[in-house]
């Protein structure tokens, strides 16, 4: 299993992601640059958080036309794994690899804090090994994270188990108060119909190292690695 982490101009969570995969989980990681036209044989591509192209025009809109994205789309279409965290999720929505879009938070604020989320199901590799009753404490840091899609799309996502995580309170209850940004149905992350492309706004890579006092995010990496090894 080889991971690839793409750095776009303005990515700022790439180093954290590489650290978690290499140092905490002992995985092989290729550093990919947005101008690369080759994924260097990686199995699992990660688009990290940050502010690619300064969020100009719309978050993720310009990064979507970076040269490497042509290869990412091909990889995804062949069934290869792709995951976007925060800005990476925004890029994947712009590329249409994932349904829906991410609007300005309903309170018009950039929100940087720990929130709780829980796995909605165990249908994909990112949540397969996570207890659906457990509330995971993971930080968010975004201004545009309000997940939105048409009513039909939301119905399809629900029917196909494509909602991977939902915001909840610390007891695991999905409530309006625990929805930090106004996302439809408390959606914190989704996947495509093929369950090989994933996006989530919260940052599991910022909650994986015990030195940082919170390791709930590590469960997501363990789920990914657990299922692939199995």
């Amino acid at each position: 299993m080889k991971f690839g982490v793409i750095t776009f101009p303005g990515s700022n969570c790439d180093a954290d992601m590489i650290y978690v995969l290499e140092s905490l989980f002992n995985q092989k990681v290729e550093r990919l640059w947005h101008k690369d036209t080759d994924l260097k044989g990686v199995d699992f591509v990660i688009l990290p958080g940050g502010f690619s192209y300064g969020d100009y025009l719309r978050s993720g809109a310009i990064a979507n036309y970076s040269p490497i994205m042509t290869e990412v789309v091909k990889h995804a279409e062949k069934g290869g794994y792709v995951m976007g965290i925060c800005n990476g999720f925004q890029i994947l929505c712009e590329s249409k690899l994932l349904p829906g879009t991410l609007l300005h938070n309903n309170n018009q604020k950039f929100i940087c804090k720990n929130i709780h989320l829980k796995a909605d199901n165990n249908a994909s590799i990112v949540n397969a090994h996570i207890d659906t009753k457990q509330a995971l404490k993971i930080p968010i840091a975004h201004g545009e994270g309000r997940y939105f899609a048409s009513e039909e799309t939301i119905a399809e996502l629900n029917a196909n188990n494509q909602i991977i995580f939902r915001y909840c309170d610390e007891n695991g209850d999905i409530t309006e108060e625990s929805n930090p940004n106004g996302s439809l149905e408390n959606i914190a992350g989704v996947c495509n119909a093929g369950k090989n492309v994933f996006g989530m706004m919260p940052h599991p890579e910022r909650a994986a190292d015990a030195e940082l006092g919170n390791v709930d995010g590590a469960l997501i990496f363990e789920s990914i690695l657990g299922l692939i090894k199995a």
Binding site: L57, R58, A61, I62, Y65, E94, G100, T101, L103, H104, N105, N106, N107, Q108, F148, A149, S150, G182
Partner: protein, 83 residues
């Protein structure tokens, strides 16, 4: 021929526009309570070389659809002016 496109991109009417909402309430603080429903979008101006207006219009349309607007959240309209 050279044309200039003046493009307006607006958040879809059905969606909450938090910027517009914040500005509406700020205007109320200025005793301009008559003003309502502020919505904030963006204006993009660009120049385009094309054989005729119809070709220019097709190209601008393509630019809007592919990059300038995200039709899941925004609508766009534009005017083409001979530069």
């Amino acid at each position: 021929m050279k044309f200039r496109a003046e493009i307006d991109i607006m958040p879809l009417k059905a969606l909450l526009d938090p910027q517009g909402k914040a500005v509406t309430s700020s205007l109320k603080n200025l005793n301009l309570s008559e003003i309502e429903n502020v919505r904030i979008g963006k204006h993009i101006s660009l120049e385009i070389e094309a054989t005729d207006k119809a070709t220019a219009s097709l190209k601008v349309e393509e630019a809007c659809k592919k990059l300038l607007a995200n039709q899941l959240m925004e609508s766009y309209e534009f005017e083409l002016i001979e530069a």
